[in-house]
């Protein structure tokens, strides 16, 4: 039996849940125990992407249900050591899951800022998205220049099925700049035709006018 199957069997035996496709709410019916933690650890130790994904799913669901200190120090020591190896996993999905936990456990990684800045500059949308979402966790005081490249980010996102589109990371970067600077640059929206509909984004011109004057005072 694989570690993933063991974990599913634990859930099925103790709750009666059909474990074919699991959701957070179903997993949260499971009580946390040393056996469960051991199974999660075996999943995350596995070389099989399916095991690792299942381990992350259970860990995430149970961390939402329980306080982080419900997991013991040995588990966190294992996790901190394991995550760095999973960041470059050949499965994008596994690497994104590992990156989100890497952010959460950032106090354990002396190279945290270097790694996150690399992902912020990545051509991979998933890495770039996660790094931008967590920018505050590694940016220096008054540091906004790493965000400026997002003024041309072309990821056009939907708000719902077949909705109009928006340049999500372009907007998010300008919102973060506004927060760092303490000045609202997100007041006007620009738009253009895009694949049969319209894509919109915050106009960065207010920021660039300000940046010409204030650039020397910021990183």
């Amino acid at each position: 039996m694989t570690p993933s199957e063991q974990l599913r069997k634990l859930l099925s035996d103790s709750t009666g849940v059909d474990t074919t496709t699991l959701s957070n709410k179903e997993i949260q019916k499971l009580d946390l125990s040393p056996v469960v933690i051991d199974c999660i650890q075996k999943c995350l130790s596995s070389d099989d992407q399916s095991d690792v994904s299942t381990g992350f799913l259970f860990l995430n669901a149970l961390l939402q249900k329980y306080q982080p200190n419900a997991f013991d120090t040995d588990f966190y020591e294992f996790l901190v050591g394991r995550l760095e190896g999973l960041l470059e996993n050949e499965s994008k999905f596994v690497s994104y899951q590992a990156l989100e936990l890497f952010v959460w456990l950032r106090g354990n990684y002396p190279n945290y800022r270097v790694v996150m800045k690399k992902y912020l500059d990545s051509n991979d949308l998933g890495c770039r998205r996660i790094a931008l979402h967590h920018y505050e966790t590694y940016a220096n005081d008054k540091e906004i220049s790493p965000l400026i490249r997002f003024c041309e980010d072309d990821y056009a996102a939907e708000k719902g099925m077949n909705s109009d589109l928006f340049y999500e990371l372009r907007d998010l970067a300008l919102e973060k700049i506004s927060t760092v600077v303490g000045k609202q640059f997100c007041s006007n929206r620009a738009s253009e035709p895009y694949d049969g509909t319209v894509v919109s984004w915050y106009d960065w011109s207010l920021f660039f006018d300000w940046w010409k004057v204030e650039k020397a005072n910021y990183l």
């Binding site: 799913l57 995430n60 994104y96 990821y155």
Partner: protein, 124 residues
């Protein structure tokens, strides 16, 4: 933490209720604009009968667009995603971020929702 936080608030607003978890592999559908080339990020396991049905299921009129064609996709095993109800609609949906499409989403076909609508209206 992990994937669930990595979705913008405006996307979560399109769900009436939601849960994060494993996605059952199989055929999924996406209401699209006529001639749309790109694949959107919202999918459903419900196949609309026609454009009106798609609008009712997925509340597409709220966005000012029409549902004129249907993208048909195969979702591969191993994916976890947000799934739930459509706010303002009667259908269900799941959100698959663009960066995961190459690993988990394969386009099978595109159908016209207008043709289906005409067939449905003239059905004896």
């Amino acid at each position: 933490m992990i994937a669930p936080e990595n979705i913008s608030a405006s996307k979560l607003e399109s769900f009436s209720f939601k849960d994060f978890g494993e996605v059952k592999p199989g055929l999924y559908y996406q209401a699209q604009r006529y001639g749309q080339r790109g694949t959107g990020e919202f999918f459903s396991n419900l196949k609309p009968l026609n454009s009106m049905d798609a609008e009712e299921l997925f509340n597409i009129k709220a966005w000012g667009n029409n549902a004129e064609q249907l993208g048909i996709f195969e979702i591969k095993p191993g994916l976890q995603a947000w799934q739930g109800g459509v706010k303002g609609g009667s259908g269900s949906q799941l959100y698959i971020p663009r960066e995961l499409h190459s690993d988990f989403v394969k386009q099978i076909d595109t159908e016209s929702l207008f043709v289906n609508e005409l067939k449905w209206i003239t059905r004896p």
